[in-house]
């Protein structure tokens, strides 16, 4: 199986009384809480952590896009990915991803992803989320009634821009471009970089991923127990569509805290976990359900069947209503799995097999976790857990993984050497 190291880049210094004094961590979070000089250190720590994860041998490092968000400091994950492309050599770069409807024209995504693919020697995984209501409809002002149509059209445009050899005119409902001809073009051109789709639990998304042969990723913050019904729904749908159960069709996000013992894990990870589930997920419910964001088919599925949790989890309001914020409930609910290396091995094997997920995205930094603790968590996982779970799904081929240039053909990137004289 693939073990991927994911960073959300949370602002780590939200005040203790944040939830009492502020309505939301997202959309209208107050600028006075942001100290750019502190953010300088946060960004550099976070990028050190991502580079460290690459050194430790994780299969991929992952970044994502959020706007006006106190737990996600990457409005442009592409900026981070381009830097990582220069400071890592073999690790896949998973940009999870670019919310296509937010780019005008969407060929911008085709270009920037092609740049990252070229710089990295073909290591890009191209994630195409619709994007959350907070990011797209509120922070970016997109019309919720048009968002999905625009997203789907932008997808068609980006894919065509990557694959068509000649300059073409794109005559879309929302985008019209006379001359589409992107330079640069991706290294992964057979036929294009792997496309992964982070989505909620809607049947429409599952069908689309199956039809397009894309990886479906369920990126919930609430762990494997809450994710089980969604992933079961996904696999049931794959079966109906006549697709095999190749676990690499799927990705799943899981928070992890590993230490020498369960008690030590509790000591180390309680504060960052409670910071994340308390302060970082303090989102005003008024930003959860812009009308039209959730399709009528998904609304119908949610209302019709109380047992259809798959559809329920597709709505952000239900996501936000799952609100354990103390460590006991966080751990009992499976949001964060903790323990000694062997205890974590057992849980990871259980998650991978019960959800049938070949791409496990790990959050080993969360909330206000320090760089030292993050490195400790990541190293212990890499040394003591990874070797005991890597064998899973060996019988399946991962057809959705980047195909970089051969190592000997790739550029040698010189080590970074700080100048002795500071620039004026």
């Amino acid at each position: 199986m693939k073990l991927m190291w994911f960073h959300l880049m949370p602002y780590t210094e939200l005040p203790e009384d944040f939830n009492r004094k502020h309505p939301s961590v997202w959309v209208d979070i107050h600028s006075s809480l942001f100290d750019p000089r502190r953010a300088h250190h946060m960004y550099n720590d976070f990028m050190d952590e991502l580079e460290y994860a690459a050194e430790l041998g994780y299969d991929a490092i992952c970044v994502n896009e959020h706007h006006s968000n106190g737990y996600g400091l990457m409005p442009s994950p592409n900026l981070i990915a381009s830097s990582l492309a220069r400071r890592t050599t073999d690790t896949a770069l998973c940009v999870m991803g670019n919310s296509l409807a937010l780019y005008n024209p969407p060929t911008r995504v085709a270009e920037e992803f092609a740049m990252i693919d070229c710089i990295s020697g073909g290591r890009l995984i191209a994630g195409f989320p619709v994007g959350s209501p907070m990011d797209t409809c509120y922070a970016y002002g997109q019309n919720p009634s048009l968002l999905r149509e625009r997203y789907l059209e932008a997808h068609d445009l980006v894919k065509r821009a990557w694959t068509e050899k000649d300059t073409f005119a794109f005559n879309g409902r929302y985008n019209q471009q006379r001359y589409v001809n992107i330079w640069p073009r991706p290294i992964q051109d057979d036929p294009h970089p792997p496309i992964w789709i982070p989505g909620g639990g809607s049947v429409e998304t599952w069908r689309w991923c199956a039809e397009m042969d894309y990886v479906y990723c369920y990126l919930s913050y609430y762990g494997y127990k809450a994710g089980l019904s969604t992933m079961q729904g996904f696999w049931n749908e794959m079966e109906k569509l006549g697709k095999d159960r190749n676990p690499y069709r799927a990705g799943f996000l899981q928070f992890v805290g590993v230490a020498e013992s369960r008690q030590q894990a509790l000591d180390l990870y309680t504060e960052p976990a409670e910071y994340f589930y308390g302060r970082c997920l303090h989102v005003d419910a008024r930003f959860a359900t812009p009308p039209g964001y959730t399709t009528e088919a998904t609304q119908r599925a949610g209302i019709q069947s109380m047992v259809s949790k798959a559809a329920n989890t597709a709505s952000y309001s239900s996501k936000l209503s799952m609100k354990a914020t103390n460590m006991k409930d966080i751990v009992d609910g499976g949001y964060v799995i903790i323990g000694s290396p062997d205890e974590v091995v057992e849980q990871i094997r259980h998650i991978a097999t019960s959800l049938n997920v070949g791409h496990l995205m790990l959050l080993l930094q969360y909330g206000n976790m320090s760089k030292d603790t993050t490195k400790y968590n990541s190293r212990l996982f890499a040394e003591k857990v990874m070797p005991k779970v890597k064998d899973l799904f060996g019988e399946w081929e991962d057809k959705w993984w980047p195909k970089p240039m051969a190592k000997g053909q790739r550029a040698a990137v010189p080590a970074f050497r700080p100048q002795t004289v500071a620039a004026e």
Binding site: N143, P144, A285, G292, I303, Q304
Partner: protein, 263 residues
Amino acid sequence: MSAHATTTIDVNGHSCRVWTKGTGPRLGFLAGLGGLPRWLPFLDRLAETRTVVAPSLPGYPGATGHAELDTHLDWVLAVRQIVDKAGLAGADLVGASVGGAFAAEMAAIFPGHVGKLVLIAPFGLFDDKEPAADPWAQRKDVLPGLMCAEPANWNELVAAPEGANPVEWPIEMTRASEAAARAFWPLGNTRLEKRLGLITAPTLILWGDRDRVLPPSYAGKFAQGINKGINGVTRVETVPNAGHLAYLDQPEAVAKAVLAHFA
């Protein structure tokens, strides 16, 4: 009192419901946010002396087809078809809230199609200094108090009537909100200001003094915009104890003002 009649018209291949009641000269009503999930006392009052015709706009209760409409021009032309097919060409027209913005467009762009005009707290403008509230970013418990001075009036409008399909009813209510968002997201500003001066119909602007969606001061901006043209007779009347959907809070007072203006 007799019941209203229900007919349908076709707009872009989609069905739109038309409610009709009363006798006398025809009068059109384009409803506000939420549309017309039920018949209203306000419409009964108008129907005492006029033939009230209340067509549903695409996506609002009784009508589909909003997903076909991508641009403001698409919307305006759909409303124009509705006005014509509902037999309202040349009739007096009342538009409220989101329906008010379209009533103003009709009067501005197709002056021959509108007799006299009443606008009840219409959408279409946005003032940076006095920003309108965001009707699409509200908690469920806050929304009724935003729509009406008396929150129960909004709750009554959207409550599922006996026998309603429990699955489809809430979806219909959300669809109405989506239809409004589709045309007016994110600020409610359709640059209507550029066209107000084209309105020649004698116009009355009504505004609830407790409108928490669109500040009552917007009434003056509409009057000023309309009076910039050849129409110098636009009046503003404030409706006491009324919120954004003034016709739900004060049906009698609003109907009376409308009928007086059309008399």
